[in-house]
Each structure stands twice: as structure tokens, then as C-alpha cells.
């Protein structure tokens, strides 16, 4: 199973970016092999609108099954949810800490967006 983390860095020791849509990248970790990949999200950082929607589609295409991030708006959540991607909220400092919390079952599966959209 592949799990994505929103981040501004390039390694598992990088900080977890609390933002989803406007995070500059996603680190995608294969939980079985422990190998990781990086998905660039630079285009969404500068989007005038709909950054979260665009970012969510990147994760859909990367065949990700779960996302760990700080916050997620309603539109992005709808895309992730429709694509069967589980969303976990975390306020951990780094990706590694967030992963530990995930593996120890400390992160619970969220049932909805935790922030309002830019327009609501």
C-alpha cells in the first residue's frame, strides 16, 4: 500500500506540511518495500483556485491509497474520498514522526474535511 505525506522537503526527515493543496510536494512511501517517491505539486502551489482539487488528482494518478496531511478542504476531500483514498490528519513535525504515529495506530481515519473551503 502506498501512503502520501504533504511536505516541502524531499526525505522522510523533512517536515510534514500542514497544508494539502498548496504543499510543494508529496512524499509517497510504499509501506511494504519502504521505498519512497516524490510527486511534485509546484503547479498547484501557484494555482489561482482549486489547488486542492488539482493536488488530489495527482495522488489518484499515483495510485496512492492513503494521505497524511495537516488539513484538507471540502473539495479536495471529495475528490480523495471518491477515489477511495483514506485521509489521516496529523500535526506531527516530520514525516517520520507522522509515519510512526500511523504505524502505531495513533492516526484515525477522517470522515470529512476539517477546514472550510476557500469559498464557503
Amino acid at each position: 500500500m502506498k501512503l502520501a505525506f504533504s511536505t516541502g522537503g524531499t526525505t522522510p526527515d523533512a517536515p510534514l506540511d500542514p497544508r494539502f493543496g498548496r504543499a510543494s510536494a508529496f512524499l509517497v512511501l510504499d509501506l511494504e518495500t519502504k521505498e519512497f517517491d516524490l510527486i511534485d505539486n509546484g503547479q498547484s502551489v501557484g494555482a489561482a483556485q482549486g489547488a486542492g482539487i488539482q493536488a488530489a488528482q495527482r495522488l489518484v494518478r499515483a495510485d496512492v491509497k492513503g494521505l497524511v496531511t495537516g488539513h484538507c478542504g471540502p473539495k479536495a476531500f471529495q475528490v480523495l474520498n471518491s477515489a477511495g483514498i483514506d485521509v489521516y490528519y496529523s500535526n506531527a513535525g516530520t514525516i517520520r514522526e507522522a509515519l510512526e504515529d500511523f504505524e502505531n495506530g495513533k492516526l484515525s481515519l477522517s470522515s470529512g474535511a476539517d477546514v472550510r473551503g476557500h469559498w464557503s
Binding site: 489547488a51 488528482q57 473539495k75 471529495q78 469559498w119
Partner: protein, 304 residues
């Protein structure tokens, strides 16, 4: 697409300002109220569709309302194969393609029609989607029209256009514009016959006034100024108008009683009748500056 009302003989005069709080709503509501008594053609339009406040002063029950729609895509998910050509094309991120389906976010759509055009599977049709409401009231003899955009809708342009398209033929419409120089103000002002710019004699007032002047010159719409709260500051706005050849059609003094009457949601032409004459003269001057006003100030009572 095409904007404004094409109604023959309609005159559109906008009351605008570079920043909020200069008295735009105070002046446009009182102007409409006084002008209607002598001229049955007058209607009041509140084009500040994000924060329509005119109805707090011109109070009346909504008699009629109309939903404003815009075209947004509808996906036939039986035909959609998840190719993502439409979502890649959309410049506004209003579409999201999943494995074998596509989601639509109508609030972000600008109705360009591009997605339906590029879809290789004929899976997209455009359907109407509500974005706001136009409301009509009768306040005494005065007809008022305002628009209110639904919360969450990103583009206010269609609602402003719908308000302007509701002007009855042959009217003289007084439009309360959104403050500022961004796109909602442009949408209101661009096809008006004349604009009255409200400002106040303070450094902030002058700065924001200059930005509006720049905008109106770019839009090539004729305009004049009205200065509110005269006495509060200095002469820099007056001097600027003189050096730029901008006429000052009217002034209101810095009278604390005006602020108090306004704070209670009352019209100053009712609460402080000595100010009626200012608005009567102002209306006559505005009408004189609209070249197609063939009828001039006709004291008509034949339409009762």
C-alpha cells in the same frame, strides 16, 4: 457575454467610489428616493452583490425574485472513460478526473464551454446552475432591484449582469456600484452613461479617488465627483479635481447628524429634510450630463 440591458432609451448612471465607507450607499439611496418623486423613470439598482446594503435604507418587501443561472458541465459517467482531457484543459480546476469518472465543482466554473468541446467521448453537456438571486422591491413609488451572490460562488460577474439586465426599458437607472477598482466594479461601470464618483477630502479619500479616476479614464466612461464630509480634511481633493478638470457636482458637509441618522438605517432626506435640495439639484445635473436624455426633466404624471 454581452452585458447590460440593451433596452432602448435606458440611461445608466452609476454611483461609485474607490474605497468603502465614503458614503456611496448613503448618497445613492437618498438620490434615488428624492429623484423618484419628480421623475417616474427612476429605478435604484444595488450592484454590490457581495454585500447589498441598499435595502437597509430603502426598505420594502421583496415582490419578485429570480434565480440567476450559469452554464456548467454535467458529466455522463457512462460515457466518461477517465481520460482526463477535460480536467487537464480546465484552467479553473473545476473538474477532477478519477479512474473512470469525472467530478464537477460548479462554484469554480467560469462557463467557458471548453470541457464539452474537448471531450472525445461526448460525455459532457452544459446545464444551468444557480449562482445567485435578483430581487425586486417597491419602496413607496420607487422600484429597487438588487442582486445577491450565493455564498461560495467565485465569480460575481453573472449576478451583476443579471441585475443590469433587469432594468425596465426607458428607465433611468441609478446604480450603486461595488467599491474599489477590481473586476466587480469594472463589470458595473463599463457600459454606464455617466458615473458619479464619491470621495472625501482626506488623504485616504484622495488616494482611492485617483485610482478610480485612472480606471474610468481607461474605461472611457464620462464622470464627475461628489465630495462627502466636506470640512473633515483639507483641500487636496478639490485641488486635484480642479487641476484634472473634474467637475465637482455636489458636496455634503461633515455633519455629525448625518452619521447619526445613517447609523439608524434612515434616509437623511427624511430625517434631515434640509438636505433634500442637494439631491434634487444633483439629479438634475446628472441628467444634463447624459447626452441621450432627449426627454430632459419631464414633470410627468401621466403614467400614474
Amino acid at each position: 457575454m454581452a452585458t447590460g440591458s440593451g433596452s432602448e432609451g435606458t440611461i445608466k448612471i452609476a454611483i461609485a467610489s474607490g474605497k468603502g465607507g465614503t458614503g456611496k450607499t448613503l448618497i445613492s439611496t437618498n438620490l434615488a428616493w428624492v429623484a423618484r418623486e419628480d421623475d417616474p423613470r427612476v429605478v435604484y439598482l444595488d450592484c454590490d452583490v457581495e454585500e447589498p446594503n441598499g435595502h437597509l435604507f430603502l426598505k420594502g418587501e421583496v415582490e419578485r425574485s429570480r434565480v440567476v443561472n450559469r452554464l456548467v458541465p454535467e458529466i455522463n459517467n457512462e460515457r466518461c472513460d477517465g481520460c482526463s482531457i477535460c480536467s487537464d484543459f480546465c484552467a479553473f480546476n473545476a473538474l477532477a478526473t478519477l479512474k473512470e469518472s469525472t467530478l464537477v465543482f460548479p462554484e469554480l466554473c467560469h462557463s467557458c464551454g471548453g470541457c464539452a468541446l474537448v471531450c472525445p467521448n461526448d460525455a459532457i453537456v452544459e446545464v444551468e446552475h444557480p449562482v445567485g438571486t435578483v430581487r425586486m422591491r417597491k419602496v413607496g413609488e420607487l422600484a429597487t432591484i438588487d442582486g445577491i451572490v450565493n455564498i461560495g460562488v467565485s465569480s460575481v460577474t453573472p449576478v451583476i449582469q443579471a441585475v443590469k439586465q433587469s432594468i425596465p426599458a426607458g428607465s433611468i437607472a441609478l446604480l450603486d456600484a461595488s467599491p474599489g477598482t477590481a473586476c466587480p466594479a469594472v463589470e458595473t461601470l463599463k457600459d454606464c452613461d455617466f458615473v458619479l464618483l464619491i470621495t472625501e477630502p482626506t488623504p485616504f479619500g484622495l488616494n482611492d479617488f485617483q485610482l478610480s479616476v485612472e480606471l474610468l479614464r481607461e474605461l472611457k466612461v464620462p464622470f464627475a465627483a461628489m465630495i462627502n464630509r466636506v470640512g473633515v480634511g483639507d483641500n487636496r481633493v478639490h485641488d486635484y479635481c480642479q487641476s484634472e478638470g473634474i467637475q465637482v457636482l455636489a458636496e455634503l458637509p461633515n455633519d455629525r447628524r448625518i452619521a447619526e441618522v445613517y447609523s439608524r438605517g434612515e434616509l437623511i432626506t427624511e430625517g434631515l429634510p434640509e438636505y433634500r435640495a442637494v439631491f434634487e439639484r444633483l439629479y438634475a445635473m446628472l441628467l444634463d450630463r447624459c447626452p441621450q436624455n432627449g426627454m430632459a426633466m419631464e414633470k410627468s404624471n401621466g403614467t400614474m
